[in-house]
């Protein structure tokens, strides 16, 4: 009786273990799962199903440059991007992603439209940030962001989109660039951001986050 019971349980577990559900899998170790499925089943939990993250703790991915998303996911997978947001949340998630899955994930999020989000900062910070974005801080040797990230901060193949990104995320990443070498792929930003004061960081982050709302208001 007991042997039959154990056999039944063992067979049940063996049968379950053989089960996969590729259209709705959350298996980060199965390289057959499509990037889109992973985006919906896993990434959406923090970044939103269309890449618009409700929590400012998590960056928006919608409409981000595909090349940037690919570079970041590879950086996480290879552990070359070492900031806390990277190793706390993303190293494990990305550790077994294939190049194909990374490409599909980047494709999925880069083609989404960022949802219009509430403005996170006060108007005076946004206005002060506009001048940093468009004109830099010449006295401190900080070039204008607009020069690389574009007039609408939508980025290019070489530089990420900043338009509409959460202010807290931008400020934290600027601090990472300024104070650490945890993001070697963004080494250029160490020089660029070196002269930014904490107030200037807060202001430019406020402006970038508010850009979609400012464009809508125009």
């Amino acid at each position: 009786m007991v042997r039959e019971y154990r056999l039944t349980v063992a067979l049940a577990f063996a049968a379950l273990a053989a089960c996969t559900n590729l259209p709705r899998s959350r298996d980060l170790g199965n390289q057959d799962v499509d990037g889109r499925v992973l985006a919906e089943q896993v990434c959406s939990s923090c970044h939103g199903v269309t890449g618009s993250a409700e929590s400012p703790n998590m960056p928006n991915l919608a409409g981000q440059q595909k090349s940037y998303l690919v570079a970041q996911l590879r950086g996480f997978r290879e552990k070359s991007r070492q900031d806390p947001a990277g190793y706390e949340y993303m190293w494990g998630i990305s550790r077994n992603l294939t190049d194909r899955q990374i490409d599909e994930l980047a494709d999925y999020f880069s083609t989404q439209t960022l949802r219009l989000q509430r403005v996170e900062s006060a108007p005076e910070h946004i206005e002060a940030g506009r001048s940093v974005f468009t004109g830099g801080v010449p006295a401190s040797g900080v070039p204008a962001c607009i020069a690389c990230h574009g007039p609408d901060a939508l980025g290019t193949d070489m530089y990420p989109r900043l338009n509409g990104q959460h202010a807290d995320y931008i400020a934290k990443q600027l601090a990472v660039f300024q104070r650490t070498d945890q993001r070697p792929e963004g080494a250029v930003m160490k020089v660029v951001a070196h002269g930014l004061t904490p107030e200037a960081v807060e202001n430019v982050a406020a402006y970038l986050q508010a850009m979609p709302s400012l464009a809508t208001a125009r």
């Binding site: 559900n21 298996d27 409700e54 494990g92 509430r118």
Partner: protein, 472 residues
Amino acid sequence: MDASAGKRVRAWRTHGIIALVVLLVLALVPVCSRALPVFARQTGQNCVACHAGGQFPELTPYGRLFKLTGYTIGQRTIPVAVMGIATASDVHNTSHSDDPSADFQKNDSLIFASASLFLAGKVTDNVGAFMQVTYDNYAKQGSDGSWRGHTSADNMDIRYADRFIDPDRDIIFGVSANNNPSVSDPWNSAPAWMQYVPVPSPTSSAFIDGAAPYTGFASGGNIAGVTAYAFWNQTLYVEAGGYGSARGIASFMSAGVADAEKTRLQGTNPYWRIALSHAFGAHDVMVGLTGMNADIYDDPLDTSDSATIHRFHDIGADAQYQYLLDPSTVTVQLAYMRDTHHVPAFLANQPVFDVDGQPLANTNASDRTNVFRAKASYVYAAKYGGSVAFFNQTGTTDSALYDPTPVFGNVSGNPGIRGSTIEAFVTPVQYLRIGLQYTMYDRYSGASHNYDGAGRNAGDNDSLFLYFWGAY
């Protein structure tokens, strides 16, 4: 040796053990920082991804989705983790006692209180489990005073879940087989999860925060049930199911629990839960209702007569607010539960006499107990934290509760307990938490003063509690 010398020796022994534990911890740090408990191994993520501010077991919004999708995010790994707890309890006043060594066992002593083994993690794309077995190092005491440990089933939750999600909808549904009503719940204001530090068995820990009133279902754990749940657009959560005694194929859910200590239920006992959740920016709020009816046999060893059944109706309301934005974590939890207890006829309307032989009111046919608890916590950088809590239990006065035993007695017949707890903790590495709690009472067993009839006041039970909590 006189009493004060004995106390000094005990104090030095305590300090010595604390120093040893700290040294061990420091020695283990490099090892721990490269290793991960089972769910962290499965996702490869840091504990803070799922646990708010790194406080286990409180879940972040992502942690809740991880649980509701059946612990299936990530990849299969070795499904084993361990947890150990060392504690020291200090009851404020041990003088009002006939036998302090029995009423305040291990007072002021650092003890290895308990350890748990977890079998947990992803099984398939849709099936996952969280199964805890706990060893209580002070489970039993022999007649010679020696202690013996015992192992038994603790929280168990085996679930099947699926998620249908696209830009227009997000529906998670699942089925959970578990042994403790609300252990399947993803919010930590639910009864199974709000109380978070296990209470050591020696009586010196009888007044620590974990032993003070928390909301809970009358059935407790060690039963077996199946619940089905759905979470729609991360907004509406509903769960319903039924529980019975852990028997037959489900007997593993109460393994190790002595037959005389098991909860024996008549038939299927309904459980339900509904909650509304909303996230806005770094804020996340939930308000919910829950309830359960439980028909419990008076004697677990004799389930032959339905006239011996206690009928409980529990209904509760709870709410949780979280603010999660690195490096800050703020949580506020509120929980209330009303328990109505219909006593079997043979125990109702019974005469009771006090110690002087004077008659008291006859016992009640039914009782009502209300428990309210509120807690607010703040954690900085998932490392340093603190919390304040308030608890208040009120209820019907019933002479069935009359008990003139010093310390643990109750001469008013009223279940009232009211007090508060403050706590500070540090998490030097994500697998270790060191906490210090102080719990204060202004009402105990229905009275502020002389609640046991032997001169003990509620404030005498104020307790200091130190814990070292590690998981690997």
